[in-house]
Symmetry: C2
Subunit: 200 residues, 2 copies
């Protein structure tokens, strides 16, 4: 993001009139500029033109800025899965649920890529990201069991689904913005999984 765009955003407060969004954007900027470890909550609040107190009304700590979206994403995946037609094969229901997550992530514009760059630069955050993905896999397996899918099929479909999602997300992140569509990449990666597991 160029300095002028940042100045524009901060000056006008137009794209993100809400405190939460401003704090999130300020945090990502600072994490990228000076590193996650080196950034303080005071600096984030100051960059967003808000107080520390406002920061703590929205986030427990500077880590939560990066991971607050995880629960929401997990709920979206689970509710999409729960709402899938009974006739849908588990793998297809999981694919559709993860495509819904992909569409939501994509709506974040530059932020998912910025967030990933911050995470890639910090081993502790990478661990937390792995835990997040493991939790989403467990939630998907639980939702599949609710749909009557027995284990190990439920766990396998969930773990395989999250593996596919991770790879599709990585492909999407590694490409320059614009071209690639994340839900389409997710769908394509599920197809690829079918091919590789069939021994192709």
């Amino acid at each position: 993001m160029s300095a002028s765009v940042i100045a524009y955003d901060r000056g006008m407060g137009r794209w993100e009139p809400n405190a939460r969004g401003r704090l999130e954007r300020a945090a990502l900027e600072l994490y990228l500029e000076r590193g996650y470890e080196q950034t303080t909550v005071t600096e984030i609040a100051s960059r967003a033109g808000l107080t520390q107190r406002t920061f703590f009304r929205h986030f427990a700590d500077k880590c939560e800025v990066l991971f607050a979206g995880s629960n929401w994403l997990q709920e979206l995946v689970v509710s999409t899965l729960t709402g899938a037609p009974d006739s849908a094969a588990p793998i297809d229901a999981v694919c559709a649920a993860l495509q819904a997550a992909g569409a939501a992530i994509q709506e974040g514009g530059d932020r998912p890529r910025q967030r990933q760059a911050v995470i890639d630069a910090n081993p502790d955050l990478q661990e937390r990201e792995l835990i997040k993905l493991a939790r989403i896999a467990a939630a998907i397996a639980g939702a599949l069991r609710e749909r009557g899918v027995a284990d190990p099929a439920a766990s396998l479909t969930a773990e395989a689904g999250v593996a596919v999602f991770k790879i599709a997300f990585g492909r999407w992140i590694s490409q320059d913005g614009g071209g690639a569509d994340l839900p389409e990449l997710i769908k394509a990666s599920f197809e690829e999984l079918k091919t590789v597991t069939a021994g192709g």
Copy 2:
């Protein structure tokens, strides 16, 4: 493990005449008895009838006792994969490599189950276990690329393989010792993955 068996092992030093094995067994006992966090290196060395100095000749810290096997396991997986016939489909080569790992784990007798119980009781260790699995997946993907498998097939096969392994291992751990054969469970889980990804 019963107290008498422990006393027998420690008294006779017969099953594990080597210091490393004695330290590992003593550590697992203590982690299970009083918790990983509460156990000190001094206590581990003392339980094994050895000195702290000997402990540190074998392990950097009390965490490494649990994870020292990971590199070795990863090397086994990669070398098995590298040695697979050129004609083998990537998914089958990965399955065989993980079965080799499973066979090696199974040779550890009670220890893999004890180790898992310690890890299940400690969130930090669970994180480290996730990181270990992510590294193994990355190593498998690398070995597949060496075999000429292009991405995303290499990453997908690797991630799916590790997901399958994780589930097979969980099934093996959750069963009472004796009956189940880990390499067979791994093979069966790969077959199950083929079924679920085919939409069955």
